[in-house]
């Protein structure tokens, strides 16, 4: 355990140093961090699921690779993507950052592509915040955070030169929504009511659902046939 902590500390330090260097270089150009490189990363070599996993003992066989600092920005970002609302918890409260760690650490080609995008993207987000706001992303004011997101979050309004960060954001949005809506809290929010075994015939639409579609179909001038 101690050894792990030291390893993480060293990696965080190195990352911080590298980040500082990159920001310094780019700031000199006076054009934000948009030209930052998105270097390829070494593919993860670890055991995968295999062709015959044991369903009675489900495990994630590969080691997790994100640093504490990366997880912290991830938590901040996923909660901006889909903030909690009323009784609905935020993504970070239902384990979405941990899932993203599981995802980007997986030893598969698709997940490797996402890892390159996301790890570099998180770094970009931090660097961009330091340039614009003088502080890392998680310390920036809410308005300063959303100002960055507004440049990369909308398909038709991506700021010039920020295509790669926009791609990163799109992937994070997709992973966040997927991870959140596959939880019980996500089911409650979206209204998934299945995975509930029943006896007898399939119940079919509720009277309310049936009346609704009947109205829709007839308003279109089409013929409704009851289920």
């Amino acid at each position: 355990m101690t050894k792990d902590l030291i390893t993480i500390d060293r990696r965080v330090t190195l990352k911080w140093l590298m980040g500082t260097l990159a920001v310094g270089q780019l700031a000199a150009c006076g054009d934000g961090a948009k030209g930052i490189s998105w270097p390829e990363m070494k593919a993860i070599e670890a055991a995968g699921i295999g062709k015959d996993p044991d369903f009675s003992n489900i495990t994630v066989p590969w080691p997790l690779t994100m640093t504490a600092a990366e997880l912290e920005i991830t938590a901040e970002l996923v909660d901006l993507i889909l903030p909690g609302e009323g009784d609905i918890p935020s993504p970070s409260a239902v384990g979405v950052p941990a899932f993203i760690n599981e995802w980007v650490s997986a030893p598969y080609p698709d997940q490797h592509k996402d890892r390159v995008l996301i790890i570099n993207g998180l770094k970009w987000l931090d660097d961009e915040s330091k340039i614009r706001n003088g502080v890392p992303f998680i310390r920036a004011e809410a308005a300063a955070q959303t100002a960055i997101l507004d440049d990369i979050a909308f398909k038709d309004k991506v700021k010039e030169g920020l295509d790669k960060p926009a791609e990163f954001f799109g992937r994070m949005r997709s992973l966040t929504l997927g991870a959140f809506y596959t939880t019980r809290e996500g089911w409650a929010d979206i209204g998934y009511m299945g995975n509930t075994p029943g006896t007898g015939d399939y119940a079919g639409p509720t009277p309310e659902a049936a009346a609704h579609i009947k109205g829709v179909i007839e308003a279109m001038g089409l013929k409704y046939t009851p289920a």
Binding site: G48, I49, L80, E102, F154, Y192, G204, A227
Partner: protein, 560 residues
């Protein structure tokens, strides 16, 4: 008995064709040795009510579990370590292997559409392809018996080339869900039928199998026996007769002939020991899958001949066909925000679109000779990693977009007929062996213009339907040559040992008996003379039942 003892019949394979043969033969009193290349398996292993949240990566497909974490397929897939296949230059073919007791029946979609009169006599009808040696009328009673035994839900709609089942054969279909009712309204308006699907899923109890409890994806295997698979039905029934011996981990290499040219058994590699073993029987039944059966025949060397076993016609490996696949999907604003309820249902099709345009083909108004059906998917399904597909922005508006669009997207999947062509076949790659030292298959595959035109017909028809219902395409479909599936991708490959009326241009007779070897039978999809748009499994089983009845009679009379 043990696998070392001589049996009345040696059956290679435990899927739809092999298990049906084993059940029919043991029921008739014959002793059967079933050889399965994969491991023993029962869907009791299936975590029926686990959800995405309980699986690594939320259960998405990975290179080792291509159809997702919970897919029943174990030790199988497109890519198998140490078990390669090769492709001719310019050809692409995807060969799914299912090495486990029960084979592909453990994870199939259970769609069970019987073939019709046109489908058995395609050559007579339009001059293309090859006629079956049986007619629909010959097959109808076997379909009835198979459907009754298996348990198939559906309705008799009396549609052209989509025959009704006999009285009392089908189980009642589950009710349409809201989005299926919606599609039907659109289809009715433009004469595209949307009718009850037919699936091998019980809606009423049969024997010890429970009816569907309206949850749990069928592809992960069904431990309650509702979704048909041979590991909860034919195989345990055959075991109960006391006449079935099963050897798993038995990778068959070749058929062995005696001095008189009759089959005396097969040679297999016992995976546990790596040793070659011989299984002996009075009759050999190959049901190893379309690819593997052809491979076994090719690898069974016959003294004085170079073309492999049962191949005096030269048709082994030829006529390789798969289902034509392509898809479009659309959002329907009219389905947005509709009232929530449980739409899991039978975890598959309740409704589908059978082919409807035969008359315009006959009149020449439609330029593709053969039809397809459309499998449709929508519903308030369990959200997966794709739930945010196509969305934009972030924050509260994103949440409301997700919720508004949930259940308003419908996917349309074409499943069409392929006509056999000279460019699609498999042969042995003499330069490559698998980890057992067995020479591997090499595939050639090409679609023809017939299939590409059919994709266009599908795309145009679905656009018309989508338009009628006010929907918008998720994306404009690609040109047919790009939109069409890869060969093998739909996992409906058939035809490499076709049956026919004439020994000169077919491998087996109408009972799957090879013309060249009197006691060598084939009961898998390789015997298909054509690949109708109907999914092949129910027809594999009906043919296997009919052929096995013939074998049982010949065993009883001492002919074999």
């Amino acid at each position: 008995m043990t696998p070392d003892d001589p049996h009345d019949a040696v059956v290679v394979g435990s899927g739809a064709g092999g298990a049906m043969a084993a059940w029919m033969l043991t029921k008739a009193g014959a002793s059967v040795l079933m050889l399965e290349a994969g491991r023993d398996y029962s869907p009791d292993e299936s975590p029926m009510l686990n959800m995405a949240m309980d699986a690594p990566l939320r259960g998405v497909g990975t290179p080792d579990k291509e159809f997702g974490y919970y897919d029943a397929t174990v030790d199988g897939g497109w890519n198998m370590p140490g078990e390669p296949y090769t492709m001719a230059e310019g050809s692409e073919f995807m060969w799914w292997r299912s090495r486990m007791l029960g084979g592909r029946t453990n994870h199939w979609a259970r769609n069970s559409f019987r073939m019709g009169p046109y489908d058995f006599k395609p050559k007579t009808r339009d001059g293309l392809g090859y006629d079956w040696p049986v007619s629909y009328e010959d097959m109808a009673p076997w379909y009835d018996r198979t459907e009754k035994l298996v348990g198939v839900y559906g309705s008799n709609e009396g549609l052209e080339n989509h025959p009704n089942s006999g009285p009392g054969v089908l189980q009642p279909p589950p009710k349409f869900r809201v989005w299926e009712t919606f599609l039907k309204a659109g289809g009715d308006a433009i004469n595209i039928p949307v009718v009850a699907a037919r699936r091998a899923v019980l809606t009423k109890k049969i024997d010890e199998r429970s009816p569907c409890y309206w949850a749990s994806g069928c592809g992960r295997g069904c431990s309650i026996g509702a979704a048909f698979q041979t590991t909860t039905s034919l195989i345990p029934w055959a075991k109960k007769t006391g006449k079935l011996t099963i050897a798993t981990g038995a990778m068959v290499r070749n058929v062995v002939l005696d001095a008189s040219g009759k089959a005396s058994g097969v040679i297999y590699i016992d995976k546990a020991t790596g040793l070659e073993k011989q299984a002996k029987g009075r009759v050999v039944v190959l049901a190893a899958s379309t690819g593997e059966t052809a491979r076994i025949l090719f690898n069974s060397h016959v003294t004085g001949r170079s073309e492999g076993l049962a191949n005096s016609s030269g048709q082994v490996g030829r006529n390789l066909m798969d289902t034509v696949g392509s898809s479009v999907s659309a959002y329907f604003p009219q389905l947005e925000g509709r009232p929530r309820y449980n739409e899991d249902g039978a975890m598959g099709l309740h409704a589908y679109i059978p082919f409807w345009d035969y008359k315009r083909i006959a009149s020449g108004e439609v330029d593709t000779p053969r039809g397809y059906h459309v499998e449709i998917g929508g519903a308030f399904g369990d959200p997966g990693m794709g739930v945010g597909g196509g969305l934009d922005g972030y924050g509260a508006s994103l949440r409301s977009d997700v919720k508004r669009r949930y259940g308003s997207r419908i996917g349309f999947t074409q499943r069409g007929e392929m006509i056999p062509n000279a460019n699609s076949f498999c042969s042995i790659d003499t330069n490559t062996q698998d980890r057992f030292g067995i020479p591997v298959l090499k595939f050639n595959f090409a679609w023809s213009d017939h299939e590409l035109k059919q994709v266009k017909h599908f795309q145009n028809s679905m656009k018309e339907l989508i338009d009628k219902l006010g929907g918008t395409l998720v994306s404009e479909p690609d040109e047919p040559a790009k939109a069409i599936s890869k060969g093998g991708e739909i996992i409906h490959e058939v035809g490499t040992a076709r049956m026919g009326a004439d020994a000169k241009d077919s491998v087996t007779n109408q009972f799957g008996k090879t013309w060249d070897v009197d006691n060598l039978y084939i009961t898998d999809g390789s015997v298909f003379a054509s690949k109708a748009h109907k999914n092949p499994t129910i027809t594999i089983m009906a043919l296997a039942m009919r052929s096995s009845d013939n074998i049982a009679t010949r065993l009883r009379t001492g002919e074999l």
